[in-house]
Amino acid sequence: MAKNEAIYAFAGKILRVNLSNGRISTEPTSRYAKDWLGSTGIAIKMLYDELKPWVTPYEPGNKIIFGAGTLVGTTAPGACKSSISTLGPLTGGWASGLSDSYVGGELKYAGYDIIVIEGKAHRPVYLWICDDCIEIREATHLWGKTTWQTLDVLRDAHNDPLLHAASIGPAGENLVRGACVIQDKGRAFGRCGIGSVMGSKNLKAIVAKGTGGVKVSNPKRFMAAVLASRKMFKNASTLNGMRKYGALAALQSKVDVSGINFKNFQDCSLPDDLMKAIDPRDTIEKYQVSRKSFPGCAVGCGRLLHITEGPYAGLKTEACQLEALLTLQTRLAVREPTFMFKANAYCNEMGLDIDAAGGPIGWAMECYQRGIIDEKITDGLKLEWGDAETVLELIRKISYREGFGNILAEGCARAAGIIGLDSSYYALHIKGQDLYEPCRGSLGWALGTTTSTRGGGHTTGAIMDYRPFNKGKAKQKAISIFGVDNPYTALEYEGKAKMVTYMEALHRVNNCLGICHFNTIHQDIEQIDFPQLAELYTAATGWDTAVEDLKWLAAKQLNLEKAFNLRHTDFGRKDDLPTQRDICEPIPSGSLKGWRLDLEKYNQMLDEYYDLHGWDRKTSFPKRRTLADLGLKSVADDLEKIGKLG
């Protein structure tokens, strides 16, 4: 865009902070805004351009990019997401986590869209941003503290009960590979081990506070688009459940497609008595004291709980997501119904991603069950399924890299490499990232999870194809959206590559604009989709942007993520396949008992997926023509030099 052209929706500046020499500078967001949409799009462009291929995650040469979504700070539905991206220590490639966040909004009100953090501080510091005042401040007094304690100390010190921070806990400080960054005391910039990269830079927290505003190009058109989008939600059939119980409302639909992770994926459904004992709806109704939501959200899926009885009496925390139930409670077969909230809260305090806890602990418990490891290795702990106290002790040991926890802190893939003895079969991961997602029984979910550029994960392409949208009007709508005959049929291979390609683009646009997936068709076919996002983006920025433009920009971003991974890792087609357990074992029980993944058909689905992307079927590498069409000719040249052009 022209040098002096006014920029709307964006705050306008990128803040660059070098922790090694203390240098702080700014540059205009306009350098990237139009070509990369915002937040994660700008992050991958900067990381690709600025990181040398030989840089490793914990070196000062690695960079962390915090990005507030383009629509964050406005009233757009679900516009509360910010991202933190870096070269990640779990996969060795593209790492990006998003969180509902007040920090992102405050950052924009302070005048910045993006923070680029470079180098490494000589001692613990935190980054203070308040309008024009940017300071790298001493954080020795915060080092060692949990994320909850850190927020309390910061709020007390600044006498500001509404101060917002994104901080790391002991797990990040101790370079636990799956450490996350916690926004205030609840939501996490999860997976990928972003928190440990912050730890490697001695950066304890990012605090932002702004008194300025965000302007949109056409306020009248923008507000009309926002209100029209919000009206759509009244037709969403999943809305009531989400508003009452959050994502935990989806437990039954997971059960229906054998989407449960029980005893580290040994089974894909739950024993009836356990299902009854842990029903999260009962627990939420019993202990909820308040709703909890984030700026712009038209859903409102959060709940604040005060547990008043049982082993965790006194705990005050936000209700967890479904992921915590599946990766910590059912995976480890714990019966105490409040355990999911306790374990989730404890992980948040420690700054440990819940999958980086559930993954290695589930693997360890199965190894213990099978006699692969014993108390001599586990520091005397008996790793019995369902033993809640042992799980909490292991979360602590992982966070401090203490004893056996030091092995688990590497994530299940590397831990299995250390232990050997065929234990790797029980380490369920994709590209080194611990998996909570069962990849049997729901093929669109599986394909999106296994091909994800950030390692295993369901938020960058997976489609919840088991949702009840395959009948009546919802089905017709889904057919018109995805262009496939039978969209919501979890066990059909046909059409899934197309659906995942659609969702990959939608998820990326969401992430760039800062829109929560739960406000879009990711969650419910009646919620907002590309046309609404294009209208919101156009009205906000003043740049005429059609649905196809958004998809093109998302494809460009995806291809650059792919190229970034090819530069930094040896990923290929083999890494886009499900785990051996998901391939080899039929579903043991439940409604889909006996169903088994057909590897030949899965490979055909993967071929179709690569064809849709213009990637080579054999290697998975992008073709020159594909990259050139996306304006990435120089990236094609880069890949050709290292023999990775498809």
Partner: protein
């Protein structure tokens, strides 16, 4: 003036919308409505500004609009509407 609102989820979209009404941009510091954490536990309170102080504008109930901005974006519209009516009826507002 501070009100209890048990159903508030603390999303603060009302603050962002309110600031738009005053300035034409999204700038919560100038809002007439502020969402506060409860002092004695989990949950939120609603603060409506009676007279303009520092950067915050006094709440006028959006008299020039068909529907006040904050209500247009509140998931618990009826509860907030009641608070707004109580506020506008309070002696300080007359």
């Amino acid at each position: 003036m501070i009100f209890k609102m048990a159903s508030c989820g603390g999303c603060r979209t009302c603050e962002i919308a309110c600031s738009f009404k005053h300035t034409g941009e999204f700038k919560p510091t100038v809002s007439s409505i502020k969402i506060l954490d409860k002092e004695d536990g989990l949950g939120f309170r609603v603060c409506l500004i009676e007279s303009s102080i520092e950067k915050s504008n006094a709440c006028d109930g959006c008299v020039n609009l068909d529907e006040p901005m904050c209500l247009q974006y509140c998931e618990k519209r009826e509860d907030l509407e009641k608070i707004l009516q109580d506020f506008l009826k309070s002696p300080n507002q007359k």
